[in-house]
């Protein structure tokens, strides 16, 4: 089953390896990012970076839209790890059976972003995508690790003045 659908713009990294995998007892990760999937060197590096205790793959958004379904009902604990909220919106749209819940984790302070939580900065396009998902009925919440509090999009959006 899909234990978690999460946005994290650094994809496979320390916090992911050390916390997220064990907190959710993940056995398989579906990594989704067009740039990484289309660059053979980066795809190789990120596939190599998947912790040896689990299995996984890196896909483009297009590939992921069609690849999610079997994981919904599989016996493995699967994490869908998506770099961008825009890609997440497409995935939810293409998979009506997917539980409508998105965890947004660390999103870094890139150009043109607004700080929405201590660890998440979103571009206007990403804000639009999150609003789109909310309108679809997806519960979007912000949380880095499970020992911290979960912040709901409605509150985060209001506090950020968006």
């Amino acid at each position: 089953m899909i234990k978690l659908v999460r946005c994290d713009d650094r994809m496979i990294h320390g916090q992911f390896a050390v916390r997220v995998i064990s907190d959710f007892d993940i056995q398989y990760v579906v990594g989704v990012d067009d740039f990484t999937a289309s660059n053979p060197v980066l795809k190789s590096i990120f596939t190599m970076a998947i912790p040896p205790s689990i299995k996984g793959e890196i896909l483009s958004t297009e590939e992921a839209m069609g690849a999610i379904e079997p994981h919904i009902h599989s016996s493995q604990n699967v994490l869908v790890l998506i770099k961008s909220p825009e890609a997440a919106a497409k995935i939810f749209k293409a998979n009506p059976d997917l539980k409508k819940e998105l965890n947004i984790g660390p999103m870094s302070n890139r150009k043109n972003t607004t700080k929405v939580t201590r660890f998440a900065y979103l571009t206007p396009e990403e804000v639009t995508a999150v609003n789109e998902m909310e309108a679809m009925g997806v519960r979007v919440y912000f949380n880095q690790t499970i020992d911290q509090k979960m912040e709901e999009w409605a509150d985060v959006r209001r506090q950020a003045g968006l």
């Binding site: 990294h13 320390g14 060197v41």
Partner: protein, 138 residues
Amino acid sequence: MPLGVLVFTHAGLADGFVSAAEMILGGPQKRFAAVAFREGDDLIQKSQEIGEAIRGMDAAFTVVLTDLFGASPANAASLAIVEAQAAIVTGANLSMLLEALTFDWEGMSRDDILGQLCAAGKGGIRTITREMILEGVK
């Protein structure tokens, strides 16, 4: 030809390694640089910075010592070493760093160098209990 040593870690760990190594070795070392991967840094940009640091090393070969396999510093360095005369050892600790800085690597193959650095790092991991200490006092 001496080895270039580049420490590349999350946050200030790299600078900490530099301070500790300089304290032990009695001062600044040649062909030794530190780079930090900070909150919000861009992976591609950081990999270019690493590539430049390697080229600026004045060494035929550079080892990039990084803290955590699969984390952003290691991933950024991985991208850089595809084009550079360098290789990465992860799980860097002070034992490994001191070995890198003090051993005479002349004439050794890349894989032998990497093997020895891994062994040095692992060899530094030992436990000390009070029983062991008191055993020696008897």
